[in-house]
Structures are given as C-alpha cells and as structure tokens.
Symmetry: C2
C-alpha cells in the first residue's frame, strides 16, 4: 500500500542482519525524513562500496591494491597477527598497542558450517611465511570454531621456523569473578602469572 519505491527500500533494509519488517519500516521512514543532501551521502557511500576490495597481501579492506597496514613501512613486518574478520583487526588496532602486520582469514574453520581450511585464507598466510617472519599471533575468538582454527594453524605452522602464539584467555578486565563462566575461570587459573611488583 506504500508507493512501490518505498516498498523497495523496505525490502532492501529487511535484508540487513537482525532487521525484520517493522525495523525496516522504521529505518525507511527515518530515511524519508532526511533531506536530499543526506540521501545523496547515503547513495555515494553505497556507490563507494564497489571500490572496496581486499588487500592483496593480508586480506584487510582497502580501496587500493594494498591496505594501510601493509603499506606502512614503520610497522613491524616480522610479526603477523591472524584474525578471522577485518572487524577483529580494527578492534586490535583501536587499542593502539600492536604495531605488527595482520592477516585476515575471512572466516574460521567450522565443522558445523562446513567451512574447511581451504575455504579461508590459510594458504595465503602460509605463502607469506618466509625467513623474515619471526612470530605469528593467532588472534581468533575463543569460540569452538576459533579454537579449532587456532589448533589447525598451530599444526600447519609447525614446520615453519616461526614462533606461534595465541592471545591470552582469562578474566576480562572489569568483570566480576563470580559472573565468569567455568571455562574462563579454569583458563584464568591455568594461565595465572606471578605478580610483578616494582
């Protein structure tokens, strides 16, 4: 009963993750209230999507052949942090405490989803490993698929002369101990460290 163009917009918005018909309508009505300039910005942003591709080297998003991380010569190229998705690299980067390079797999090995090592960027990672690489930090999420991927990476990287490390598991900062799940508590206990007093 809405104009066809408006229904089209709703059905496009409905395809966003977790968005049902009601929310899509709300978004569409919000967009309808915007002035022409703002709509134009949205259109240009979508047009821009066509220019975005994966970095030739690490798989991070880029509008050039190589991403800013790979192009930056001040970064420590001897360390590669392996992440599942570009968002994960962005989260690490935001902390400001990592200055190495990245490798974005684009997914995780998953027996439930039928994703195998050859489906994600593992070959590309192995091709990057030469004598200049000293450390591979496996920064997959501590989920079933993340753990499986980490174990697989550890196995295939064994033959290479490179240190393979994994992000630490333990209590998240600021969290209450009695709200932590058992697995996290066990990991936190196993990985306990001597208190370093100055």
């Amino acid at each position: 009963m809405y104009p066809q163009r408006f229904e089209d917009l709703i059905s496009v918005l409905e395809k966003l993750p977790g968005v049902g018909n009601k929310t899509a309508q709300r978004y569409a009505f919000t967009l309808l209230e915007k002035n022409e300039e703002e709509i134009q910005r949205a259109i240009e942003a979508l047009e821009g999507l066509k220019e975005i591709r994966k970095c030739r080297i690490c798989g991070f998003l880029s509008d050039e052949d190589e991403c800013p991380f790979c192009k930056d010569d001040t970064r420590n190229k001897a360390t590669i942090m392996v992440v599942a998705y570009p968002q994960d690299a962005a989260a690490i980067e935001k902390t400001g405490s990592y200055k190495g390079s990245y490798h974005v797999l684009g997914g995780l090995i998953s027996s439930s989803k039928g994703i195998y090592p050859e489906d994600i960027g593992i070959d590309k990672l192995l091709n990057r490993i030469d004598d200049s690489i000293k450390e591979v930090i496996v920064a997959t999420s501590p989920t079933m698929d993340g753990e499986m991927t980490a174990l697989y990476l550890d196995k295939v990287l064994k033959d290479k002369n490179v240190l393979v490390t994994r992000l630490a598991h333990g209590l998240p900062m600021g969290a209450s101990l009695d709200y932590a799940d058992d697995l996290t508590l066990i990991k936190a206990l196993d990985n306990r460290r001597k208190i370093e007093s100055e």
Copy 2:
C-alpha cells in the same frame, strides 16, 4: 582505519534509529558482501525516496499527487479515519476491514515535545470536513499524546455536523487478563458489551 568510503557508509548507517557503531559496522559488512546488483537495488531505492511526497488530500505517502486511497472511488469517502503516522494507516489497512478514507496528521499534540495543534495536519483535516463527511474515526494510539490529540479533535469537530468516534480500548486479543495493566482493565470493564449469541 577502514577505507574512507567504508567509514562514510558506517557513519550514514549510524544515523538510523537505535543503531550504534557496532550495529552500523555489522550492516556495512553485510552490504559489502552483497553483489553489485543488490547494491544497485539499494541505490535505486534511495534514489526513489526523492520522488516520494505526501498525498495532497490525506497526507499519506504517495509517488503521485494523490495516494491510492484517495484515488480509489470504491472507498467510502464519507468516513475519515484520523491517524498519527502513515504506518498506522498501513496497520489498519492490513486488517482489510476498513474501506473508508484516511487522514494522516504526521504527528501528535504533545506538551512534553512542544508540538501544538497547528504543527500537525489538523487544519487540513478541518478543511476536508463538509456535508459529505458523516464520520471521523479518531485512531490515535492510547498514549498520553494520542489521548490529548483525540480530545482536541473531538473539541474542534463539535461544531461540524459529523459523528466523531474513537477506536475501542480494552483487552488485546490473545492476551492474558492478569498481565493487563490497570488502566486497560478499567477501560475494558467500562466498555463491556452484552454478549450477542446467535
């Protein structure tokens, strides 16, 4: 750290109601996965927004001068249902049990938001009322602002030779009585009806 065009898209999506940075990123990555054809559909849907305006008569959405409801001569034009937003008319229409015309105010009188009768389409409604109009059904939501608007409409329509009615309040169908709030129960009791057995 994402390409500028991608950051632009995220900041456009962040302006949608209830969408924060995390959700906007998720939406942007979902859009990134779409093929060019789907992106094109989204662009066209946004382009189409520029063509959408308000129906000259009732204020519902239309891509022509008059909306489908006002143009439809089979509808009963002697009855006008007054709603706050186009979505409300759409909700009524979906039930299939109303065949009159609509009037979309575009808002509700609200002392808290500082919205006065002259800010919404009440003048336009009054101009529509002539001898051909027999009934005005006030279908604003049973909220504070909706009630205030209904009372105001009842007052200004008193001088006109027209029946003013209001959607019934009571227990929603399928709801459990003991979960209904007090006001709803009081309304349901006040408005009780004789059971009509066949």
